[in-house]
Subunit: 178 residues, 2 copies
DNA sequence: ACTTCTATTATCATGTATGATAATAACCAT
DNA sequence: ATGGTTATTATCATACATGATAATAGAAGT
């Protein structure tokens, strides 16, 4: 799944896209600044009710859906994908579970260091829509890589959702090293 | 959004589809029976971490996504939809917020009592994929209505996900009056 | 009748998310 | 430098979800 990292990233992207400060959003969503900051910085235990309030305040729909895995046919096996991508994870050991629970992290690694074949097998695994959506959430360090994916997203017409990533993201990427 | 009712419905559908008891699923997901029962019966404050554990135990991917509303173009306005559908809600007052936060409830009412035009404007509002997905989650009382939508879902090829609804749901619908 | 499995609900102790407040720091102006 | 805005983090009291246990009840089969 997209997992907690992806949720944090989406919240921050959307808030910055709307130009809201933490204080402003906290008031609009009837929540607190610390909670909001926690949600945007690697919080693992979100409450759906709080996410719902935030989504409304961010003029978004919150989608929470269970997608049965067996309905995802003609996709490569996790083992296959791990096999092919493992060389990109020199600093740790890529496990099958990471594909499901830390998808955004895997996607970011592949975008930054992977070959086109690596991208293809990821798309085969996730489906194009899900992959592109994750690309929109991803933090990409290299300017060249970023430019490439901006063009791809444009071509694919993921336009509306990714406006921020393409136009303003550079600045936010720069000062978010933590 | 699909909201809490839809989450409960999805959990129960999927668990019954796999033929698991509360006890079995609770053990597989490393959670407790009371929590599970609460989650399936109108709980409002889900934790994403718990949902994630349940999804894994149910062999599902958990999708949590913020969908910006302005990226949903050429859709009818909430006011329009409320205007057209309000006659179906004789016992209460349909508000625009219900469309976003109690979507499943609205869908169920339209499926049961609405005309084809009502269905059309709902599809225009939600998009076909989201609408069909909600139909799969919906509890439909009338056998005739249910048969109709089973055919529709078959035609539209929402096959895999909705297997349970079409084949076994009748029994679960019957004894879930509470 | 009787089990047996099931689901729902209650009670209660405990863990933890939340919100209020404040301290710190970074950034950007003037 | 100074002041203002912002984000992050800490502390702490409170609210609430969770899990353990058990009571209740229904359904299905013997």
């Amino acid at each position: 799944m997209r997992s907690t990292l992806a949720i944090s990233r989406q919240l921050r992207n959307r808030r910055q896209q709307l130009g809201l400060s933490l204080t402003q959003l906290a008031r609009r969503a009837d929540t607190s600044v610390p909670t909001l900051s926690r949600y945007e910085n690697g919080w693992s235990r979100f409450e759906v009710a709080t996410l719902q309030k935030l989504a409304t305040a961010l003029n978004c729909d919150l989608v929470v859906r269970l997608e049965p895995r067996e309905s995802q046919r003609d996709r490569p096996s996790s083992a296959e994908v791990v096999e092919q991508l493992s060389r990109l994870f020199w600093d740790t050991r890529l496990e099958a579970s990471h594909l499901a629970e830390n998808t955004l992290w895997v996607v970011e690694r592949v975008l930054e260091f992977g070959s086109l074949d690596d991208v293809r097998i990821l798309i085969a695994l996730l489906g194009r829509a899900e992959f592109l959506s994750l690309v929109g959430d991803a933090r990409i360090e290299s300017a060249r890589t970023r430019a490439f994916w901006q063009q791809m997203l444009d071509k694919e017409g993921v336009a509306c959702t990714r406006k921020f990533s393409r136009e303003e993201a550079a600045s936010s990427w720069r000062n978010s090293s933590r």
